[in-house]
């Protein structure tokens, strides 16, 4: 059985998660955006990807601390090089997983 309290929490969580995902798509897509804003949006993916991945690779713990010896970071170096060289998403994912699995065995 689902408790009503739990259901209310889920609905609340769902709304505050969905609305920020929905608002820009529905409203910005109708507007003519100024050129500087289009340029800014064009740079957002590079900025977000970098700010997502880098802290995962070189910080750890709660509160977070720098840790430059994490297997995540050591494996990231050859994975980066492989991605630059091959530009293959499938290859990079497989190689990254394999190297991380190896690192788990030997590091």
């Amino acid at each position: 059985m689902i408790h009503a309290d739990y259901l209310y929490i889920l609905i609340g969580m769902g709304i505050v998660t969905y609305v920020p995902r929905w608002l820009p798509l529905v409203f910005l897509s109708r507007l003519r955006l100024p050129e500087w804003f289009e340029q800014w949006l064009d740079l957002i993916p590079a900025a977000i990807l970098s700010s997502l991945i880098l802290p995962i690779l070189i910080t750890t713990g709660e509160p977070r601390q720098l840790d430059l010896l994490r297997p995540e970071l050591i494996v990231a170096v050859p994975t980066f090089l492989f991605a630059i060289k091959t530009r293959s998403l499938a290859g990079t994912v497989v190689v990254g997983m394999f190297l991380f699995w190896l690192a788990g065995k030997f590091l």
Binding site: I9, P20, P24, L52, E62, T92, V93
Partner: protein
């Protein structure tokens, strides 16, 4: 309403379903591992598989679900959990904004269906695929919902207490990191993108050490992209930059 123009460039549904579902595989692999782990943790916190599946369906945002479960087991109520979820997931607003470029001339219906599936991972993968061409809103929509179904199924399976994949097996925990690494490389299409990525990464690391939570993602991205625009628009700074 769909304009004729965008309809012409859009794949028919059977092709879109095939391309979208196949294209989603790196995310599905990652979600399988994280989803199972989430299900196991949620089950240990006292949630039933039905309750877990309902959360994955109604919320569909991995990190906020982990946080909500730990808050629930600590006895937190509606307001703190909902406020925390809001702040943790606000970064998706930035991602939806950035996807607008590829989602013009669509009705509210398709946009609303698409919005539900905007996650860090689907945003990153769809951005790269839109950019490379041969991608459209239908394929993107199918990709989003394929990853969503994988997430729901994996979290429910984990909720039955099954650690079906032994910890660390096949390096599956690294699937999403490797995907992000490769998609970041795809985004570096010129000097200004590299500069923005370096600034964003350094800012994100610095901020992540100073402030708890994940607001560092939004702050670092907004600032770094703004600096990138200044760089691009300043003739003196970007004289060597080729027009993109």
């Amino acid at each position: 309403m769909l304009s004729m123009n965008s309809e012409e460039r859009t794949a028919p549904w059977p092709a879109a379903i095939k391309d979208g579902a196949i294209g989603a595989w790196p995310i599905c692999l990652g979600y399988l591992a994280i989803g199972l782990a989430f299900g196991v943790i949620a089950q240990k916190a006292g949630l039933s598989p039905l309750e877990i599946g309902l959360m994955s369906l109604l919320v569909y945002a991995g990190s906020s679900q982990f946080i909500a479960v730990s808050m629930l087991s600590a006895g937190a109520g509606f307001v703190p959990i909902v406020i925390t979820t809001f702040t943790v997931n606000l970064r998706h607003m930035l991602m939806s904004s950035s996807l607008v470029t590829y989602m013009r001339n669509l009705g509210t219906g398709p946009l609303s269906l698409f919005a539900y599936g905007v996650t860090d991972e689907s945003f990153a993968l769809n951005s790269a695929k839109f950019r490379s061409g041969n991608w459209d809103w239908r394929r993107a929509l199918v990709l989003n919902h394929t990853t969503n179904l994988t997430w729901i199924a994996s979290t429910v399976a984990g909720g039955f207490g099954g650690e079906f994949i032994p910890a660390g097996a096949f390096g599956i925990d690294y699937a999403l990191s490797a995907m992000f690494i490769c998609l970041l490389i795809f985004q570096l299409r010129g000097k200004v993108y590299v500069i923005v990525a370096v600034i964003a990464g350094l800012l994100a690391v610095g901020l992540s050490l100073l402030i708890p939570g994940n607001s560092y993602i939004v702050i670092a991205s907004v600032l770094a992209a703004a600096l990138g625009v200044i760089f691009k628009r300043s003739p003196r700074l970007s004289r060597t930059e080729e027009r993109t």
